[in-house]
């Protein structure tokens, strides 16, 4: 016991314990700080397919309108081909896209626009009339 009385290594032990504790506390703060950087909003900005959907809408509202004066059979034939091409084109991007017109009167037609990817599913049904646009 007497030998211990004069032993000062325990004090060093305590001292170094405080140092280690301080370092650990600092590291934990640093770790928490690293977690602050946001990632979700940037992911959103990257994955949302605005242009892909817009392109489909342009086809549905404007490109198909060019055939409105065609006969019913020609109109359906042409729009059906467009639909096939769009599906093929979008399939190469790993998504499903389609613009399919399914009725036609003298001045108007109905068209369904569909886009489906892993993150986004879009469906719109438009009724477009010559000179009056789409609703």
């Amino acid at each position: 016991m007497a030998s211990l009385i004069k032993d000062e290594r325990a004090q060093m032990l305590v001292f170094f314990s405080l140092v280690v504790a301080t370092i650990l506390a600092y590291l934990s703060v640093l770790h928490a700080q690293n977690m602050l950087a946001g990632i979700e909003s940037s992911r959103t900005l990257m994955v949302f397919p605005k242009e892909e959907i817009r392109n489909l809408k342009v086809v549905g509202e404007k490109s198909i309108m060019m055939f409105i004066d065609d006969s019913y059979a020609d109109f359906m034939n042409k729009t059906s081909k467009i639909s096939e091409q769009i599906k093929l084109l979008y399939a190469r991007k790993g998504v499903y896209g389609d613009v399919i017109a399914f009725t036609k009167s003298e001045r108007c037609y109905s068209v369904r626009i569909t886009y489906v990817s892993g993150e986004v599913e879009y469906s719109d049904l438009l009724y477009c009339c010559k000179g009056r646009g789409c609703v």
Partner: protein, 853 residues
């Protein structure tokens, strides 16, 4: 034992233990707060930032959705978020135009406003928990354009009996919806007819069934169904979203034709509900309803002039156009070797130019302009034998001496009038030692420009479908510039090019070809003609087809020097009247022209036919339609008017201004008009055909009766085929007036903008244009129709738009109305119908919705 004291209060061990203990307490106390210092304060920062991040993500998704928003559909997007933030679970919700994130115990909350987009454009709702398997933003928007059902019945009244059905069209074509729609019409008896927007018209036929009608229909006058039933039909239109609209209409079913005519009036707005800023149409629809204004059936005698002047031409149609000639241009240098030489330039074609120039001087097809180097210009036009090549089809240019100033480039511009491609040759000869020696030759295939006009001669109007002739003439001012061909025959008639007249010609399509003759020719205009009698056949047969219905009698008198009663019925009791109009049509087809104009005998014969056997015609409305193209040229000498010896015919026998014949014919006409058959006076309608001086308008006007319910004489003047057809058509309508002096007024409120108006008329109604006028702060839309005939359809369409949400009433009570004279017409029969109150709803609540889940 003596204790030795030192400076130490405690031993080293105890000191160590005390210090450690104090330190331990201190560390313990410190550790109590270290969690707050090292964890919670950090979590607060983390939560603040990551909640913001998640809210930003949701906000971004919503804004992106707005960028590609579906007008009528949905957009689903996945939302990614950590299961916990700082070991805290949380919920994300949409409310009050904001994205709200709340920690599980509510300690932390983050709200991110979506601004105007969220408040004005979207209905936000929903909530998701961070531990949910997946998170989704669901944007949906349904178009507020609601379906509109509009049911029209054509005609709105039908005759039906036990064996013959009355048929009418159920027309739902004016209905509308967002995209395709299905429709369903339920008849009064529960029968259902269905269809879709690709098939909007269907025919319904109904037999007279008093039991059914008494059960399911009604009598407008009250009481049990007698001879007429009013039966309701209900239309339901359903769009692809399941939204629907209904409309009703009433069909008048009668087994007798003595139903007073009237007006069917309907007002509707299409679509009835839409979004602000989108135009809608206000419709006011009028339909002449009924059968005939008087009597059960007609007895009609058509009297047709077949005098010699009916062989004259009458206008049938016109043609006009522009065609620039194809010019073949050749430039050749006349060098000094030509100096003082004679030059001959020929333009020719080795083609036979058949069939276009067969039988005519083919050289006349060629024209050549010659531009010499010194600026002199010559146009080579064949005339007689002048400038014409004898050995070939073509023309030539000759210059006796090429002067020094003419040395240089010569340009030749050639035009050939022919409606087919032909080879062309241009040759230049020089006179050498008394012979023409070819110096230069050019050739080409000439593709001419020409104009083609088709003209249709209708079949079913003449014997064997043969018309007496078809003529065409280019107007004089253009005649020299063009050649014309009718089918493949060159137009050359009466010594004049540009005029043609075929012999007997078959009904069907015929072609007129017009080819320019000169380089500068461009514009032309001209007319087609057919024989007057042929045009009278078309107009009268159309009249019979249009006017004569089931149970009507029809007969025919033709006249020239003498009148002829045509036998059209095998019955010995009624040989000159028939209900089979085809017999009369066949007789009309066989008519030939030639002779004087015996109006007296023709009128007497027409009367005789109507009186031939009144057992049959009793109760019918007797009508004589009298058409002539000439002045009377036969005088009645007295005695038996059936005898040919009772007439003297010549161009002067009727005296000055036909007064002698006038004094004979008018008393006869008065006698005829005063003759009654079953209580109905004979009505005479007269038509003067041709130029005003050709016939005696005063005579025909005085012969004519007044139109029913009118102070206007039933007299028409027709200068050409079209006017003759119009006159016959008008006569066919005089017993079919549904309403007179119709005035439609409606008021559009000032908070609705009028984009335009349109008046659609189907039938023969005479209506003015739509007028707009101020009515206080509002706008009155109105138009008038002097007459609306049975089965006519008149539809006023007013395109309007409102930019603010709300319900707009398109009506002003007691001002929006239709006033008209009802049958039997006149001031005493004025009627006012107030228009239905209709409204259009501009919806503001139909915003898109965004839901997170």
């Amino acid at each position: 034992m003596i204790r030795k004291f030192d400076n130490r209060g405690v031993s080293m061990l105890l000191e160590y233990l005390i210090l450690i203990s104090i330190l331990s307490v201190f560390v313990f106390l410190l550790s109590m707060n270290i969690n707050k210092v090292l964890e919670e304060s950090q979590i607060e920062s983390v939560v603040e930032n990551q909640f913001s991040d998640v809210a930003s993500e949701v906000s971004s998704q919503i804004v992106d959705s707005l960028a590609v928003y579906p007008r009528n559909g949905y957009l689903k997007t996945k939302v990614f978020m950590p299961e916990s933030i700082g070991d805290i679970e949380y919920t994300v919700g949409l409310e009050n135009g904001s994205v709200v994130i709340t920690s599980e115990l509510g300690r932390f909350q983050k709200t991110l406003s979506l601004g105007a987009a969220g408040i004005l454009k979207l209905n936000l709702s929903g909530q998701t928990h961070s531990l949910a398997e997946r998170h989704e933003l669901n944007y949906t928007k349904i178009s507020p354009t609601y379906p509109s059902a509009v049911l029209k019945l054509k005609p709105a009244a039908v005759l039906a009996n036990y064996t013959t059905p009355g048929c009418f069209e159920v027309d739902v074509s004016k209905s509308s919806a967002m995209g395709v729609y299905n429709w369903r019409v339920e008849l009064w008896n529960g029968t259902v007819i269905t269809g879709d927007s690709g098939n909007t018209v269907t025919e319904v036929c109904v037999y007279w069934n008093p039991i059914e009608f008494n059960n399911y229909c009604y009598n407008e006058s009250g009481g049990a169904i007698g001879n007429t039933a009013w039966c309701n039909l209900t239309l339901t239109v359903t769009d692809i979203r399941g939204l629907n609209d209904t409309d009703n209409a009433t069909i008048l079913i009668s087994k007798i034709s003595e139903v007073e005519p009237g007006l069917y009036i309907k007002k509707f707005v299409n679509p009835p509900q839409t979004e602000p800023g989108r135009p809608v149409e206000l419709h006011i629809y009028l339909n002449g309803r009924g059968f005939r204004t008087q009597a059960t059936n007609l007895s009609v005698v058509t009297v047709i002039d077949t005098s010699g002047s009916m062989d004259d031409e009458t206008y049938y149609g016109n043609f006009a156009g522009n065609v620039s000639p194809r010019v073949w241009e050749v430039t050749y240098r006349i060098n000094s070797s030509w100096k003082n030489s004679r030059i001959l330039v020929t333009l020719s074609s080795p083609d036979s130019m058949s069939p276009w120039w067969d039988g005519y001087d083919k050289d006349d097809a060629f024209v050549m302009d010659v531009y010499q180097a010194d600026g002199d210009y010559y146009r080579v036009i064949p005339s007689g034998w002048s400038n014409e090549l004898g050995s070939a089809n073509g023309i030539y240019f000759y210059d006796s001496r090429v002067t020094n100033s003419e040395i240089g480039n010569w340009t030749f511009r050639a035009v050939v009038a022919i409606p087919k491609s032909i080879p062309l040759e241009l040759k230049l000869y020089k006179r050498v030692s008394g012979s023409w020696v070819l110096q230069k030759e050019f050739s080409t295939t000439y593709h001419p420009n020409y104009y083609t006009q088709q003209i249709e001669l209708p079949s079913g109007y003449t014997d064997s479908d043969q018309f007496e002739y078809l003529a065409a003439e280019i107007y004089d001012v253009y005649k020299d510039d063009f050649f014309a061909w009718l089918d493949s025959d060159l137009c050359y008639y009466g010594g004049e090019y540009g005029v043609c007249r075929t012999g007997t010609v078959l009904a069907g399509t015929h072609n007129l070809y017009i080819a320019p003759r000169f380089p500068g020719a461009q514009q032309f205009e001209g007319e087609f003609y057919i024989q007057k009698l042929d045009s009278a056949k078309i107009a009268s047969i159309d009249f019979i087809d249009e006017t004569i219905g089931e149970g009507d009698y029809v007969g025919l008198v033709s006249f020239s020097t003498y009148a002829t009663k045509h036998v059209v019925n095998s019955s010995p009791y009624l040989p000159h009247l028939t209900t089979d109009k085809n017999n009369v049509v066949d007789e009309i087809k066989d008519l030939d022209e030639g002779g004087w104009t015996n109006i007296y005998q023709a009128l007497a014969y027409a009367r005789d036919i109507l009186l031939e056997n009144t057992t049959y015609t009793n109760g019918t409305l007797p009508l004589i339609v009298f058409m002539t193209d000439g002045r009377p040229t036969c005088k009645y000498l007295g005695g038996d008017y059936n005898s040919s010896s009772s007439y003297s015919c010549s161009s002067s026998v009727c005296g000055s201004n036909d007064q002698i014949c006038y004094n004979q014919i008018i008393p006869l006409a008065e006698d005829v008009k005063n003759t009654t058959i079953g209580g109905n006076n004979i009505t005479i309608c007269t038509i003067g055909f041709g130029k005003p001086d050709d016939y005696n308008a005063d005579l025909l006007r005085d012969m004519a009766s007044y139109k029913p319910g009118s102070s206007e004489k039933c007299f028409y003047e027709a200068e050409d085929y079209q006017e003759l057809s119009d006159a016959f058509e008008d006569i066919s309508r005089i017993f079919r007036i549904a309403a007179k002096n119709v005035t439609v007024r409606d008021v559009i409120p000032d908070d609705v903008q009028i984009l335009g108006t349109e008046l659609e008329i189907s039938g023969s109604a005479n209506c003015t244009d739509v007028s707009l006028s101020s009515f206080g702060t509002d706008t009155m839309v109105s138009f008038n129709c002097s007459e609306i005939y049975i089965d006519d359809e008149i539809e006023l369409i007013v395109r309007i738009v409102a930019n603010e949400p709300g319900t707009y009433f398109l009506d002003l009570p007691f001002v929006s109305n239709v006033t008209f004279e009802n049958y039997p017409f006149g001031a005493a029969y004025n009627q006012t119908v107030y228009l239905d109150v209709v409204n259009v709803r501009y919806g503001g609540s139909e915003r898109a919705s965004v839901r997170i889940e």
